[in-house]
Every structure is written in C-alpha cells, then in structure tokens.
Symmetry: C2
Subunit: 203 residues, 2 copies
Amino acid sequence: MARLAFRERILQVREDAILEAVNRLLADKGFDLMTVDEVASEVGIAKASLYRHFPSKEALAAAALVRLLERTLSVIEQQGALADATPLSRLRAVVRWALTEQLSGEMPALPSQNSSLRAELAAHPRYLDLLTQVGDRLGGWITAAQRDGSIDPALPPELVLFTIFARACDPVPGFLKAGGRFGDEQIVELVLGSCFDGLRARS
Amino acid sequence: MARLAFRERILQVREDAILEAVNRLLADKGFDLMTVDEVASEVGIAKASLYRHFPSKEALAAAALVRLLERTLSVIEQQGALADATPLSRLRAVVRWALTEQLSGEMPALPSQNSSLRAELAAHPRYLDLLTQVGDRLGGWITAAQRDGSIDPALPPELVLFTIFARACDPVPGFLKAGGRFGDEQIVELVLGSCFDGLRARS
DNA sequence: GTCTATAGCCAGATAGAC
DNA sequence: GTCTATCTGGCTATAGAC
C-alpha cells in the first residue's frame, strides 16, 4: 500500500515534469509547431512513454492548459484573500501576474483559430469548468469595480473580462523586450498602465 | 507587344487572386496550418502552378504580408490627406480600419514566434522597408499627438506604436463576436474605445 | 505554363521486446 | 511502463508529359 502510494507519487512528479515542458514549449512555439518528440526529449523519456500518460498531442496540451487555469485560480484566490484590496487592485494584480508569466516564457499561446486543439478544448469538461470559474471570479470583481466607479460602468463587463484575458497573450511585451530599452518590470508596468488607463492623456 | 502586356495583365490578376486567397487563409488558420494544396484549390489551379509564381510557401505568405502592408500604407496616406484631421483622429482611424479588416476575416495572423516565416520576413527587404514606413508614419502622428496633449506624453512612443499594431491581431473582437451580443460596428467601437481610453473610468 | 503523379520528409501514433 | 523500431498519413516541393 505504501509502495503503491510511492509509485503514484513518482508518476505524479513525472507528469508534472511533462506538463511543465509542454507549458514552456507551448509558450515558445505554440501548439502547431510543438512536436511530441521535443516534449519527450525535453523530459528525457521516450515518445512512446508519453503516449502511456496522454492519449494524444491534443490531450497533452489540454492538460497543460488545465494546469495553467489551476495556477490562475490560485492566484485569484490569493488576491481574494487580501483584506485591504479593492476590486480594481485585484484585477490589476491578476493581469500583472499574467504579464510576468508571459515575459518569463511560461504563458502558453492561444491555440490558433482552426487548430485541432480548439475542438478538443471545447469538449473538455474540466477545462471548461475551470475557465468558467476564472471568468466568474474575475467577473465578480469587474462588476464590483464598475459599481464603485473605478472601472468605467459604461463598458460591457464582457469587454473588460476579455480585455484582461487577452493580456496573457499580448504581443506588446515581446515587442518591447525585443527593443531592449526596458527591463521586464518596466514592461509589465507600462503594459498594465496602457491596459487600464488607455493611450489618451488623462486630465 | 500588346499581347505581351495583355499576358502580363493576366498574370497580375492571377497573382492577385492567389494573394487574396493566401490572405484569407492566413487570417483563418495562420501560416502553420495553411497548406499549399488549399491555396491552390481555392484559386482553382494546380499546386505545381503555384510554385511557378512563388518559390516556397514562405515566399507566398511574405508576398501576402507585403500586400497587407501596402494596403495599410494606402490607408495611412488617405488619412494623411484629410485636411481637418488631428493626429489622434488619424491614429484612431487606422486602428478602426485594422479592427474592421480583422472582423471581416481579412487580417492575417502574426506568424508564431518560432515559425520559418519569421526568418524569411527578417531577410525580406521590401517587407522590412514597408514595415519601417508604416512605423515611421504612425510614429510621426504619435509624437505629434503627444505634443498636442491628446496622447499621454509620459508613454514611450514605442509602447503606443506597438499597442496600436497589436490591435490588428487582438483576440478580443473575435471573443465578442463569438458572444453574439454585439454587431461588428459596435465591437469595433468598443475595442477602439478600450484601447485609447482604457478600462478605468475617466472623471 | 498548366496539369498529373510522385519523390522525400517529417511528425503523430503504435507494436513488441524487455 | 519504458524502451527501440516502425508504420502511416499528410505536407512541401519537383519531375515530366502535354
């Protein structure tokens, strides 16, 4: 019994290593260009062994995205636990986290419009459930921020939610980093500012 | 001689048809998922004939992107010719055009980070030249708008330029469209507003 | 200069030994 | 359960007939 649990722990650790590699590769090249061979060699196991853990390349990516949503939820819960935070400061903190992850190469790219991954995700109950949870939590803060007047009450809440979501795959941080004039923290604050404050001057 | 010119016109028309098909497919599935077979069948010619016009799949996509930049420049010049326009209104108009193109499925997706297309584009003189021209023209308006106080003078001009560029591949319009609650014109104005005015309320 | 047919390659998935 | 070796299919690119 103890041996079995030990075995399961080993498996768990290996799956974590697999998903971390997938996560990095998804961030680096995206789903289409990521090959299962690369994943296997990065983890240091044979491709056939990967297919013992996950039935397909799509399932592999879906599991990595589920892991990402779980991490996102934990960030959200952490923010929710802060006693003196406002709805707006919580939203900003979540976006700041997403931008930081993206700049350190740990934020998977969105699957392209017509990818086989999209179909798999649309039928993946756990993924959809987590996505809904993230949307609900953020949505609650958004409407609260609109009630307290910090976020423009005239904006449809979906627009705000999607705009926040989209920061996770914003190409602007990468452009700024390629320019070389700014450090990562500066980039995060610049993009964060442009997202919430806009490009127009505030009087 | 007249026959030769005629022949060239035919070729030109065919190449236009090819590039339009490529443009649509790039918008729909992106470079990696677009196959040369699809392009050929959409145009109604054989794949081998395509390779008479363009030496590779990358060259095909590069030509479509050059065409996109040429269209962009013509929009810019059209805006520049308006006598009573302000720098800010010109920038808004260009972003509005890009969002409209994207919503009607005619804005190619950015090549993914590690694509073979990136390498080809980085060595494509005409592409780079056009990109610089677009950047210079928009950059001029941006600094002018910062001088007249309509765009926040504290923002680095690159940030503004990249943020404007990035609207062309913003996933938010697609999300809003999928939601079904808004028409295309509404979506364009909403995203345009969130880009320039930000999410926070303006007092 | 357009077609059909095919070469050559590469990636996802699997068989079968251990 | 992990490995090596292989199958299979699809894609880019080209050869060769007309």
